[in-house]
């Protein structure tokens, strides 16, 4: 459901999601994601941690996943968070919540 890659020079961690991010799946992956972000954020104090959620393989998001996005974005102070490769359906979903711009979703 989710893979994680870190680009050390830019201090960027990318989480690549796949498939259906329903409430159950989100509950399973949330601790992993939050823990990883928390651990990396404590690292290099020079370059702030940047988090990217790659949504290429995602076809459904539950409200629980949207909450996870908000939480992680807050943890890295908003501007260091982005969501990429969203499908039109996913983009519309975040538009409905009014968060597409705030979460830098493309």
């Amino acid at each position: 459901m989710v893979t994680c890659t870190v680009d050390a020079p830019t201090n960027t961690v990318t989480f690549c999601y796949q498939g259906r991010l329903d409430a159950v799946t989100t509950e399973e992956l949330s601790p992993l994601v939050e823990e990883r972000v928390s651990a990396l954020a404590k690292g290099d104090e020079g370059t702030p941690l940047r988090v990217i959620f790659d949504m290429k393989g995602v076809d459904y998001v539950a409200s629980a996943f949207i909450r996870l996005c908000i939480k992680v974005a807050k943890a890295v102070h908003g501007d260091n968070f982005a969501m990429t490769n969203s499908s039109p359906v996913i983009k519309k979903t975040f538009k409905i919540v009014g968060l597409a711009e705030q979460l830098h979703l493309t």
């Binding site: 409430a23 459904y60 998001v61 539950a62 409200s63 629980a64 949207i66 909450r67 359906v89 519309k92 979903t93 975040f94 409905i96 919540v97 009014g98």
Partner: protein, 478 residues
């Protein structure tokens, strides 16, 4: 609650609902219908318990009738909606080239009346789930607990069936300011207001879309051609149902003098009694609040026996309905107004014309656009009556309360929210249903208008060319 707290609370509620809306709109018809089925089943299976809770908490009506209201709100509404297409493409006309696509509205704020707390809650939750709209229930102060339990039952079932978290919420705070804050919130899609005029007015004034209802003041005209025992029995069935709490129940009986005695006798035979003229002021003083001119809230849903005792009226023990013979309509005749209890005004008119005018007076006294009723076996009379009255529902040879709600005595869409049109300051006269809670998108493929494209439209610029000349040319078939 402080202003800040109210704003925060409204924000919290709407944020939760908006998240739910975002998730909900991704579900397909199958997933949606699974949720609807689950909610119907849960609501139906709890129909008796919830009805008893409503009766115990409000002290209004008859618990067995509240069970039947819950059945209408679940079983009959579910029957209406279960096959309806409410997701994606809902219709396709290849000839006209138009495809209709259903989209949800978004979060809905559902105002619940004290007269039908659990049934209206069940109804609004069902139609909201069917259309993938998160719903926020606003219970009346006197029915918070039974509504909260109704919400809990439905929400648990919805979640278990895959509905998004936050798809059903309830605002238990009972704060007028919070209600207004939610109604006016930018993320709210619609207020669905079933309640008093003030509440409906607030909904329409909120700046967000609203669907509301209006008050009723239902005249029932018994024509000379009517089967009088049948008519009287049906009126009793309606007016005693839940002790007269349905807004579409009869408020006044109007008959011509020629059959008045027979009608009075029949009411007496069926245990409905006229209050003495000398006691009318006492009944009026109890039923209507002098300052406001509106009905006494304490009388709503009380039995005729209880009313007779409270008002100190001399009436037989087995009284089902209290009848009050009146000679006018309006403020000077308080009992001519809407009273949601087993009290009926009674008018004897010289002839049919006067009877119609009396019905119009009653209809326009706080009941425009709601419901009127007629008992007759003369189709011309029924047509004429129907055309003259201003009512969303003209109920023929049927108990008015159950008839207006629909699905029992007629084929009207079952609903617990009855639109009253512009007379009631509403947007529709229809019985509100799931299909009112959709935004319909129309995909329009090119299908050229042959007349337009054949016609030389430059001819329209010629001021001297009149309609007849141009239309002849426009419709010319070569």
């Amino acid at each position: 609650m402080t202003t800040e707290t109210i704003a925060d609370r409204a924000e919290e509620i709407l944020f939760r609902a908006t998240l739910a809306a975002a998730e909900f709109q991704q579900l397909d018809q199958q997933a949606t219908d699974a949720i609807v089925r689950a909610v119907f089943t849960a609501g139906f299976n709890n129909r008796v318990r919830l009805a008893k809770m409503a009766w115990e908490e409000t002290g209004i009506g008859v618990w067995q009738h509240k069970v039947l209201k819950n059945v209408v709100a679940t079983q009959l509404v579910y029957e209406n909606i279960k096959e309806q297409k409410t997701v994606g493409v809902i219709s396709r006309d290849d000839l006209l080239g138009i495809v209709q696509i259903a989209q949800p509205l978004g979060p809905i704020f559902a105002i619940i009346p004290v007269t039908n707390p659990t049934s209206t809650t069940l109804f609004k939750i069902l139609i909201a789930m069917k259309t993938r709209n998160p719903v926020i229930i606003s219970p009346p102060r006197k029915a918070i607990h039974c509504c909260a339990e109704t919400v809990r039952v439905c929400y648990q079932a919805a979640l278990a069936a895959g509905a998004p978290e936050g798809c059903i919420q309830i605002v238990e705070e009972g704060s007028r300011e919070l209600t207004r804050a939610i109604m006016g919130h930018q993320s709210l899609a619609l207020t669905l207001a079933t309640g008093g005029t003030g509440m409906v007015h607030a909904a329409y004034s909120s700046g967000n879309p609203a669907i509301g209802v209006g008050p009723g003041n239902v005249p029932v005209f018994i024509d000379q051609t009517a089967d009088i025992p049948f008519a009287v029995a049906n009126i009793i069935t309606s007016k005693t149902f839940d002790n007269g709490t349905i807004c579409a129940s009869e408020q006044a009986v109007v008959v011509e003098k020629s059959i008045a005695a027979a009608v009075r006798q029949e009411f007496a035979r069926q245990h409905c009694y006229f209050v003495a003229d000398s006691e009318l002021p006492r009944l009026a003083a109890y039923a209507i609040v002098a300052e406001s001119g509106g009905m006494n809230p304490d009388i709503v849903g009380k039995s005729a026996r209880s009313i007779a005792d409270q008002a100190g009226l001399e009436l037989p023990e087995d009284v089902q309905i209290i009848l009050a013979r009146l000679h006018g309509v309006g403020d000077a005749f308080p009992l001519s107004k809407e009273i949601l209890a087993p009290i009926l005004a009674f008018y004897e008119c010289d002839d049919y014309q006067e009877a119609m005018k009396t019905c119009i007076d009653l209809n326009f006294l706080g009941g425009i656009g709601h419901t009127v009723a007629i008992y007759a076996n003369d189709e011309e009379r029924i047509d004429e009556f129907s055309r003259i009255m201003n009512a969303g529902r003209v109920i023929v040879n049927t108990p008015s309360a159950q008839g207006a709600v629909g699905g029992l005595f007629n084929t009207l869409q079952s609903s617990l929210t009855l639109g009253c049109g512009t007379g009631g300051k509403n947007i529709t006269t229809e019985n509100i249903s799931a299909l009112h809670l959709l935004n319909i998108q129309r995909v329009c493929r090119r299908r050229e208008n042959p007349h337009w494209f054949k016609f030389d439209t430059n001819r329209y610029y010629d001021e001297s060319a009149d309609a007849e000349t141009l239309l002849q040319a426009y419709y010319r078939n070569y």
